[in-house]
Amino acid sequence: MSSPLSASAASGTNLATEVADPGTRATATQHEHPDSSNGLEKTIVKSYKAPIAFAIFTVIALVLFVVLGRDGVSTFRLSNDNDLIQLPALGVPTRIAGIVATVLLAVIAVLAYLRVRADRHVPLWLTSLFGVLFLFGFLAWAAAGQTLPVPGLLVGTVSLSVPLIFGAMGGVISERVGVVNVAIEGQLLAGAFASAVVASITGQPLLGLVVAMIAGALVSFVLAAFAIKYLVDQVIVGVVLNVLVIGLTNFLYSQVLSKNAEVLNSPPRFDRINIPVLSEIPIIGPTLFRQTIVVYLMYIGVAAVYFALFHTKWGLRVRAVGEHPQAADTVGINVSGTRFWNVLLAGAIAGLGGAYFTLGSVGAFNKEMTAGAGYIALAAVIFGQWDPIRATLAALLFGFASNLQNVLGIIGSPVPSEFMLMLPYVLTIFAVAGLVGRSRGPAASGRPYIKA
């Protein structure tokens, strides 16, 4: 079963390198090319993908903000009532904001076109600027005649992103070491379940965190055992593990937890900790520094994963094993061992994300409460090009999209909420199709290593 899929994955990788986008190549410094036989890699291929994408979005902006433009004043509320430093609300006339945004978008699109024609790449900051401008135009258009609470929008974004980011970190480590981690969903759910039960029984949320890590690692253990020892296709194990964990937690929830909810399923929640001074910065303070300990752990975790992956011996080994296991083996790295322990670590990190559901946001375990967050985390890994920082940004973007849908639902959105919810998935499809930058995973990801 493993051979057809790995073979197809290999051909997919080749295709992806052929259509590599020069726009992102310069920024993606951490990617090693496993076989230098591909000499074409050095030659610059003109890719008009970025300008074309910009042009499409500019046309959308033109239609939405100008042709279908709405009249009125869009107000952005920038602080909450109880903030120390009060910022005045920002009011902009909707139609003018739309026109200005569209003109600026068009300018960026032309700029991008000129750069590509001159054999230069489109820098990441230009893409980011384009995104922010489009977002501003969209928000102004959506909030015509209404007040948009910006702090609430951002706080909700972080809250929805936390499990995604933990899951994405688990995915990044696992895929970097060469094991495709589709089981993030299962790891999150196992973490949520275990932490809810243990924190309820002991009354110690910190103990719940530890057990969540163990539970996530346990799911990873099954994944690692089947993928590394029995050489079963990693995607299959991942999908089946997700079903297994859903079945197990659903069963135990109905059979045990719901019958004795006070004792087993009423975990204490972490309190919010306000960081002195930082928490009083307008907008940023309430968003980032009035959070629970799980969120602060996440900040540390992302930085640690980034630093360790690219600046330590451990990270070098992990990446070597994921890119070229034979070479790693030749220089004396234990490929199976490295994969095994790091997949376990990935599961533990994803398990922490599961704990956030029960100890941070919701408060009690529920059937299938992760609701596909693991798959979105997987999407963030790919959208973020297997890089911890980019994956985190992708997860934040996905969290923002789903929270925007909530906020716009309250103030009355002109766009059906389903289309907002669809956005992360559509973006991911574009990303893997190579329309937004290049998408190339670690070379040996998904392929079992059989020592010759």
Binding site: S8, V240, F419, T428
Partner: protein, 411 residues
């Protein structure tokens, strides 16, 4: 077992014999047994009676054992009676009613399993069953309720619309894979969500799929002319979708084993680079196989809306069949008739699981656990061999001195 395993280079005609004797069927059966044992342990551990009796285990161990027996045998007894034969029934028709329920549940599982299995054979992993089913259900359902047509024509048209819907949703994946190298696993997962939101948007929007005059996200009932006819009369749920699924099984068998297209698929699945060198258009194969795969999965969506739930459907119409289909295809080892048998087995689990929940109060989710364990065990034959201490074919064969003779004997 070890004898025939030595006959690895035997001709293709020995495939079936080799499969049976070579252990794959044995492994499959043992995997099912192992999974059922694990499920039984789970049922026993969470049973209140067992927990009460285990409190005084060391004074009266018999109580604990009998409580375990009561809970596990009660659960699996209910599972069996809910899926095969109801011993308590007074009439023959009622006695075999569980079996017809099993076949009804198996109908979409077989169709979707065939779709997933076909993609497997070409080296593609179609996890997009949910999305393909939803789009197919929306298409078939829309044709099924919106315009009255003569009997027969209407049904054929609705089925065709469903197949086309699933094929398009699957074809997108093949197209993106062929053109851009986008990995189909990611694209199918993402398209599942896109389909869920798209269909739920259409279901709550008047003029698209929502029933007129209703506020619920639900379609109108299907017109009688577009509904699969009942096979055993109105007293049973079994509908003509089963015949379609059987026909699909025969079609896929023919496609894979007798047609040149199927040969190309298998060649691509075995080794795309070799297939390319041999002159097969690999990219085109990806598109074709995903179109066919999506169409087959779409057939499962059709069976749901035109057969099982004809009173109009909502967004949960796929009922997890898209994911179950993966396990069905794996259990059936991606072979058409294997998938057929696996589909019926999992249909029995579904039918029996609901009976078990109603009769014994054991959550139907235990079925998910058993199903996924079956697939895990089947995927790792060395594990099952280790548990049951079976000989490993490759290792044992080395002791046999003359593989030539065995190959001759096998002929």
């Amino acid at each position: 077992m070890s004898d025939t395993a030595a006959a690895q280079p035997a001709p293709k005609s020995n495939q079936v014999l080799r499969d049976i004797m070579g252990g794959s069927v044995v492994i499959s059966i043992l995997a099912v047994v192992l999974a059922l044992i694990a499920g039984g342990i789970l049922i026993a551990l969470t049973d209140p009676g067992v927990q009460a009796a285990s409190g005084y285990f060391f004074s009266r161990p018999g109580d604990t054992l009998s409580a375990i027996w009561t809970s596990v045998s009660g659960a699996y007894g209910a599972l069996f009676q809910g899926s095969v034969v109801n011993f308590g029934a007074t009439t023959f028709a009622n006695a075999i009613k569980p079996l017809t329920n099993t076949l009804t549940f198996a109908t979409p599982l077989i169709a979707a399993g065939l779709g997933v299995g076909l993609a497997f054979r070409a080296g593609m992993f179609n996890i997009g069953g949910q999305g393909q089913m939803l789009i197919a259900a929306a298409a078939a359902g829309w044709v099924g309720y919106s315009f009255p047509l003569p009997y027969g024509i209407h049904l054929i048209l609705a089925v065709a619309a469903g197949i086309a819907g699933g094929a398009i949703w699957g074809g997108i994946v093949g197209f993106l894979k062929a053109r851009t190298g986008a990995h189909e696993v990611i694209v199918t997962i993402m398209l599942n969500y896109v389909a869920v939101y798209l269909v739920s948007y259409m279901l709550r929007t008047p003029g698209l799929l929502q029933a007129p005059g209703s506020n619920n996200p639900k379609t109108p009932a299907m017109l009688p002319s577009a509904v699969y006819p009942d096979l055993l009369g109105p007293g049973f749920n079994l509908h003509a979708g089963l015949i379609v699924s059987i026909a699909a099984t025969i079609f896929v068998w023919w496609l894979l084993n007798r047609s040149s297209l199927g040969f190309k698929f298998r060649a691509v699945g075995q080794n795309p680079n070799a297939a390319r060198v041999a002159g097969i258009d690999v990219k085109r194969s990806y598109i074709t196989v995903m179109l066919l795969s999506g169409g087959l999965v779409g057939l499962a969506g059709v069976a749901q809306v035109l057969g099982t739930v004809t009173s109009g459907f909502s967004s949960g119409i796929d009922a997890g069949i898209g994911f179950d289909a993966i396990t069905v295809a794996l259990l059936g080892r991606s072979k058409p008739w294997g998938i057929f048998v696996a589909g019926i087995l999992f249909g029995a689990f579904k039918a029996g699981g609901f009976a078990m929940q109603a009769g014994q109060g054991i959550p139907v989710d235990i079925v998910l656990v058993v199903q996924s364990l079956i697939v895990l065990f089947i995927a790792a034959p060395p594990l099952v061999r280790a548990v049951f201490r079976l000989p490993t074919p490759g290792v044992a064969s080395k002791k046999k001195p003359a593989p030539k003779q065995i190959a001759v004997a096998a002929k």
